[in-house]
Amino acid sequence: MQQTSEQALTAALHRAMAADERVIFIGEGVATKNPELLAAFGAERVRNTPLAEASIVGCAVGAAAMGLRPVVDLLFSPFLMLAMDALVNSAGKLGPLSGGQFEFPLVLLARTGAGWAIGGQHNHNLEAMFVHTPGLQVLMPSTPADTAGLLAGALAQPRPTLLFSDIGLAHDTGDVQGDELLLPGRAAVRRRGDAVTLVGYGKTVNHCLAAAQALQADGLGAEVIDLRSLKPLDTATVLASVRKTGRLLCVTEASGLCGLAAELCAVVAEQAFAPLKAAPQRLTGPDAPALASWPLEQAAVPQPEQIAARVRALMNTQP
């Protein structure tokens, strides 16, 4: 069946709540906006909250440690900044610091990325901040099926998980079976090729695929990897691809400094230096807040033409 990511996510949550009564859904307006979940599972398990992220996430972290499996809709990723203590200092640390007495099986949902022209306090690709934080899982799928699968996979593993949705992909539909289960930590090879490895996540996967299409006209076969899971990070799939192609271009909407693209370039330089035919490359968003105007917002995202141009330059580079 064809569904948007949001529809696939809601359906996956419905299945999870039906299968496991420990799963509760809380957040700003989740009961208001999901009458079918409210009707199916009641107001005790589908709860509207105050607009107060620190206590929403704190409550979820405390409840998770005591045996519930909260799914929290935090709406937009910048709102996570208000919940950092509960998420980073408690959920991320109190498992190991307590000598393993507590686990935190909770999932936080947040939207981010260009596509709705809502500006930098609702759109901020800050995934890497949480990748750098001990104890958290960080996921950002690019398809409706993966969104459903990763929600089920995150609920199957007792770890605090951030599941980001790309606003720019919100209107795209995709084929969803309705029984997806995808454990975090596995990238997907979306396109095979032997000339260059393109790595992205969220909307930049589609931009890489579009660039690969254009490069095919030049006779260049680009392999495209969709990370899906940023932590745990599937470096094996990236390394295997780069060992074949000898060239790497990482493409993120997030800014470059200390980001996922930098990490993958470092991993490839450390572990697959010999096969490299050129230095690993990054193409990223700017170190600046997202601006609201549509063309300015789009200009901050690596576009297919830029990706193709970087690949052509990369093909002419000698090591």
């Binding site: 704190g58 409550c59 405390g62 440690a65 005591m66 509960a86 408690s90």
Partner: protein, 309 residues
């Protein structure tokens, strides 16, 4: 007569519990060194821990904070395992991973200790929610915090959520006059946190936190009321942090007059006076607590370090 005798033996048990906490804290304060990280002691606040924790049941949960030893010992924690935790040994309650600042003991119902001021306040509503939905719906949650944490925004968020969602949560504010190195007068209006929560619709009571019997009586009726209607409550215990924020601390910043006034209201002395305990009997009980603590500390020092992962 029978009731009075009962009260007297309970009061004596509370005195012993306070003596044990005092001896534990003084042991750590006396032996602070590079290999034994400094601690935040609860000296002077023993009546708060003993009075409230003694009013909780086995199915209740509690969240403590960086000043946790009193709460843990009052709950029945083994001093040797507490020392081992502070000393970073494998036999500690958290395998030596928590140190002195984040000690939790799930087996005792002491959960999710955060050393971030107000950290426990963020987690406590979720613990209470899980209890309400879980296997022991009659259980309540008590969260201990100070006047410093009450100045965090999360205090008001947690109170709002607990009242709105009718969570079985007891807020226990130990108003100990000091917020790290700053006196409460510099950081908050008025004398009492309890005044702030009236607008939230949270029932609150201010109690003399240096009177173990008063604290225990208030906690007992508050817990009973909470258990009966499932609505949260706040107990504010007026007390005083006799030692520094973090050992070692010369307390050069403390007002000597105020300090002396509070030492004269020491909770252990007051309990001994209430019980009309002869000086030699008090000394004997103090020595017994000291011996138990010294043995526990020696044993903890001999415990193995944790293995590296």
């Amino acid at each position: 007569v029978k009731a009075a005798a009962m009260t007297s033996s309970d009061a004596l048990a509370r005195l012993d519990a306070m003596l044990l906490i005092r001896a534990y804290e003084e042991q750590l304060a006396a032996t602070t060194s590079a290999r034994q990280p400094g601690t935040c002691t609860s000296v002077g606040q023993e009546a708060c821990a003993v009075g409230v924790v003694g009013a909780l049941g086995a199915n209740d949960r509690m969240l403590t904070n960086h000043r946790s030893a009193g709460h843990l010992l009052a709950r029945g924690a083994d001093p040797e395992r507490l020392f081992a935790e502070v000393l970073g040994r494998a036999t500690g309650y958290c395998g030596g991973h928590a140190g002195s600042l984040h000690i939790s003991a799930r087996e005792l119902g002491v959960v999710l200790t955060s050393t971030i001021v107000g950290g426990g306040l963020s987690l406590a509503p979720g613990v209470a929610l899980a209890q309400k939905r879980g296997a022991q719906p009659e259980g309540i949650t008590a969260v201990f915090f100070g006047d410093g944490a009450a100045c965090q925004g999360i205090f008001h968020e947690a109170v709002n959520l607990a009242v709105t969602w009718r969570l079985p949560l007891l807020f226990v504010c130990e108003n100990n006059q000091w917020q790290a190195y700053v006196h409460r007068r510099e950081t908050m209006p008025g004398e009492h946190v309890a005044d702030w929560v009236q607008g939230h619709g949270l029932a609150a009571e201010v109690v003399d936190g240096n009177d173990a019997e008063a604290v225990h009586a208030a906690a007992t009726h508050t817990v009973a009321a909470l258990r009966a209607d499932g609505r949260p409550r706040l107990l504010e215990l007026t007390t005083y942090r006799q030692r520094g924020h973090f050992e070692p601390d010369d307390q050069a910043y403390v007002c000597a007059t105020e300090h002396a006034q509070w030492l004269a209201r020491d909770p252990i002395q007051r309990q001994a006076q209430r019980l009309r305990l002869p000086a030699d009997e008090l000394a004997g009980r103090r020595d017994a607590a000291g011996r138990r603590i010294a043995q526990a500390y020696t044993a903890a020092l001999a415990a193995p370090w944790p293995q590296q992962a």
